[in-house]
């Protein structure tokens, strides 16, 4: 009997990718989770098990900050889902209209903010909305709506929504591009067949195109979810690590940064910081699992 040959070439070809991925992703991830199980007492690292997580979820001071950040994060995500993705789909539908002129120009113009750095976006919008130098107050004045202006980024009740909308402005190009690509793959014959059956215009979008691009919308939703729960840059660039005013724009990313690296007189605590990072990881993992097993497997797919 011939023994099964070990197919070395598979290992050899896999090795570089596995090695690099382990070094830059898997190892840091588990190292962070491992770090969350320790604490520092008088320069000594001590194993405390899940104590850091207990503090994070049940100590009144920590828990208040954590739930505040988590709540803000959900609101941030909700704004993206309700504003960014519908607008992205609508823009894609408009762009894929065969008789639209300058489609390429619109497409590029809407996509450009996506490639800008967060720092530029945060700084530019801070200037636009500034009560002192900004063009927002004078533009509103020009159309007689000056009384509607408020220093949005400085008000607890508006700041987070404002920043979420800035982020929507920046990233609306991504769902637009993905949906646009999905729409282009729909064969003309199907639409023509629909026309023969009397389905035209808006009805064609709702009844033919939308079901066909639903898987893409699902992917976009999960990308938005992961992106939003990992968000940090924009809030940090616009409001700083304290995520003011009064922590109203604090999301998990800024909370983690402040805790891990410290801020002003507050010294960094890598162990609590890792606990927050662990919680973020768990939240994202659960979210992605719900999507993968609960939604994606049930989604109906059509063979084109």
């Amino acid at each position: 009997m011939k023994q099964a040959r070990i197919r070395w070439h598979i290992l050899v070809f896999l090795a570089p990718a596995v090695f690099v991925y382990t070094a830059v992703m898997i190892f840091p991830l588990f190292n962070t989770l491992w770090l969350a199980l320790y604490t520092r007492v008088d320069q000594e690292r001590v194993f405390v098990g899940l104590e850091n997580f207990r503090t994070l979820f049940f100590d009144p001071i920590w828990a208040e900050q954590f739930w505040n950040a988590l709540g803000n994060n959900f609101w941030f995500f909700l704004v993206h889902m309700l504003v960014q993705n519908p607008i992205g789909v609508a823009l894609a539908a408009l762009l894929s209209h065969p008789r639209l002129r300058f489609a390429a120009l619109y497409r590029s113009a809407i996509f450009i903010p996506t490639i800008l750095s967060f720092v530029i976006v945060g700084f530019a919008w801070k200037l636009i909305l500034s009560p002192i130098w900004g063009i927002a107050p004078s533009m509103l004045d020009a159309v007689g709506l000056g009384s509607l202006y408020a220093p949005w980024l400085g008000k607890e009740e508006y700041a987070l929504t404002t920043l979420a909308l800035v982020s929507v402005w920046q990233f609306v190009g991504i769902p637009m591009m993905l949906i646009y690509a999905a729409l282009l793959t729909i064969p003309e014959e199907i639409l023509e067949a629909g026309e023969v059956d009397g389905i035209t215009g808006m009805a064609a979008f709702w009844k033919i195109k939308l079901p066909l691009i639903l898987p893409s919308i699902g992917i976009i939703s999960i990308l938005t979810f992961v992106g939003n729960f990992n968000a940090f840059d924009l809030i940090y660039a616009a409001q700083g690590a304290l995520a003011g005013p009064d922590f109203s724009t604090d999301i998990l990313g800024t909370f983690m940064y402040r805790t891990f690296f410290g801020f002003q007189l507050q010294l960094g605590d890598p162990h609590m910081g890792s606990a927050i990072a662990g919680a973020m990881f768990a939240i994202i993992l659960v979210g992605v699992c719900i999507y993968l097993f609960g939604i994606q497997t049930r989604m109906r797919r059509y063979q084109l």
Binding site: Q43, P151, L242, G244, L265, G268
Partner: protein, 417 residues
């Protein structure tokens, strides 16, 4: 023949290069004072290098808000500079405890400083000093002299006069009464609460009582400054909620505001920007004739990275920083950062002179939250930022703010329990 010459030339170059490497030491300074880059490069470093030809110094600042985080990461990674600009109190103490800063107690030149000056960079028992004190900053208010003349205002001494002056400016409408925003939060605490506060809690007396647990943050002397700050909101100009620190600086130096709640570190920047004459007045007292207290905060020190490759050169630099010659250069090159050495330094800048003259009239203290009280979680300094902003915006009552801060402090600080 040609080839041999080339070889010889190469060998000589290599030899010279290694020789130079062995002799010269390059010291890198970590700092958060990116505003001072030019002054270091053009005045301070050349003065040092002229005296010590073998040592090159490079000033490498990062942004103030990120400095602590960046520095900690660099130190842990072993990529930090040889000399570390020290934040006062716990941030530097933690670096010393973690073995990142060297003990400098045996540096002879340390005797040039008073105990108060050294206290910000010592272990709690005072046994080890780990940073050479460089400078303190003094709080007060900078005002636009032209605006005050135009409106016929004189410098306010008492709180009543202060608010009367603000009312006059507001009624006139030509100037924003006071340039400050709450977007970045720290100004409200640093230039607001800790600027006017010492007059209420009687400087060191109140500060030390708070540390000892004899006073609490709900006591009237700690709550009253919030009540005063609550009145500031009316005078800060439209949209102050989203006004940032650089916005405030620009508004004032463009001549659009009359008064700027300040720290003396603004002086050199303002001198360069403003084209009107500026004056300064100290935080107003409640009744005429009261003893005045000023925040004369030990702000900058400089220490040595324990992992430096050039400990000798670094100590030479630190000894130079500790002597009066440096104090003279530094105090005049950076008006508004007042040297802490025992030998008094003659300052030339009129605005800086005004600030430093208060040291003679008033009792000095440091910011209430900096020593010991910001060691735990929640961090009292950061909480004070939020509380001061809330007071100005009027989103919470002064009593509630005091209670909130006290609860936070008592949750981890034993003497307050």
């Amino acid at each position: 023949m040609t080839r041999n010459t080339l070889k010889l030339a190469l060998a000589t170059t290599a030899l010279v290069a290694t020789g130079a490497y062995a002799q010269d030491a390059t010291l890198t300074i970590e700092s958060w004072r990116n505003d001072d880059l030019k002054l270091w490069q053009n005045q301070i470093i050349p003065a040092f290098e002229a005296e010590h030809p073998g040592i090159k110094v490079e000033f490498r600042p990062s942004a103030p808000a990120e400095y602590n985080a960046v520095l900690n990461s660099k130190l842990d990674a072993g990529s930090a500079g040889d000399l570390i600009t020290c934040r006062p109190f716990d941030a530097s103490l933690a670096l010393y405890d973690a073995g990142h800063l060297s003990d400098l107690s045996d540096l002879e030149a340390m005797s040039n400083f008073s105990d108060v000056a050294k206290s910000a960079w010592q272990t709690d028992d005072g046994s080890a000093s780990f940073c050479v004190p460089m400078a303190s900053v003094i709080h007060g208010f900078i005002y636009n002299k032209d605006a005050f003349e135009e409106l016929g205002l004189s410098v306010p001494e008492t709180e009543a006069e202060f608010f009367a002056a603000l009312d006059t400016i507001k009624e006139d409408g030509g100037y924003i009464p006071m340039a400050m925003g709450t977007n970045d939060q720290w100004e409200a605490a640093t230039m607001g609460y800790n600027n006017i506060g010492p007059n209420y809690w009687k400087g060191e007396e109140g500060r030390l009582a708070l540390i000892a647990g004899e006073q609490t943050l709900t006591d009237p002397e700690w709550v009253a400054p919030y009540a005063t700050l609550a009145r500031w909101g009316d005078y800060l100009g439209a949209g102050y909620e989203a006004q940032t620190y650089p916005d405030s600086q620009n508004i004032f130096t463009l001549g659009r505001a009359a008064i700027y709640p300040a720290g003396s570190w603004e002086i050199s920047g303002f001198n360069a920007q403003a084209d009107f004459e500026m004056g300064a007045f100290k935080p107003p007292v409640q009744a005429a004739g009261d003893t005045c207290y000023i925040s004369d905060h030990t702000d900058i020190g400089i220490g040595m990275n324990a992992a430096t490759d050039n400990p000798e050169a670094a100590r030479t630099f630190l000894a130079w920083v500790a002597n009066p010659e440096f104090a003279g250069i530094f105090g005049n090159a950076l008006p508004g950062f007042f040297p802490l050495s025992k030998t008094p330094v003659e300052l030339e800048d009129p605005l800086a002179k005004e600030f430093v003259s208060w040291r003679g009239e008033c009792e000095s203290t440091i910011r209430s939250t900096y020593q010991i009280l910001s060691r735990g979680t929640p961090n009292l300094e950061n909480e004070t930022w939020g509380a001061s902003v809330a007071a100005i915006k009027g989103t919470a009552t002064p009593e509630d703010l005091g209670q909130g801060l006290q609860d936070g402090l008592a949750s981890w600080y034993e003497p307050q329990q």
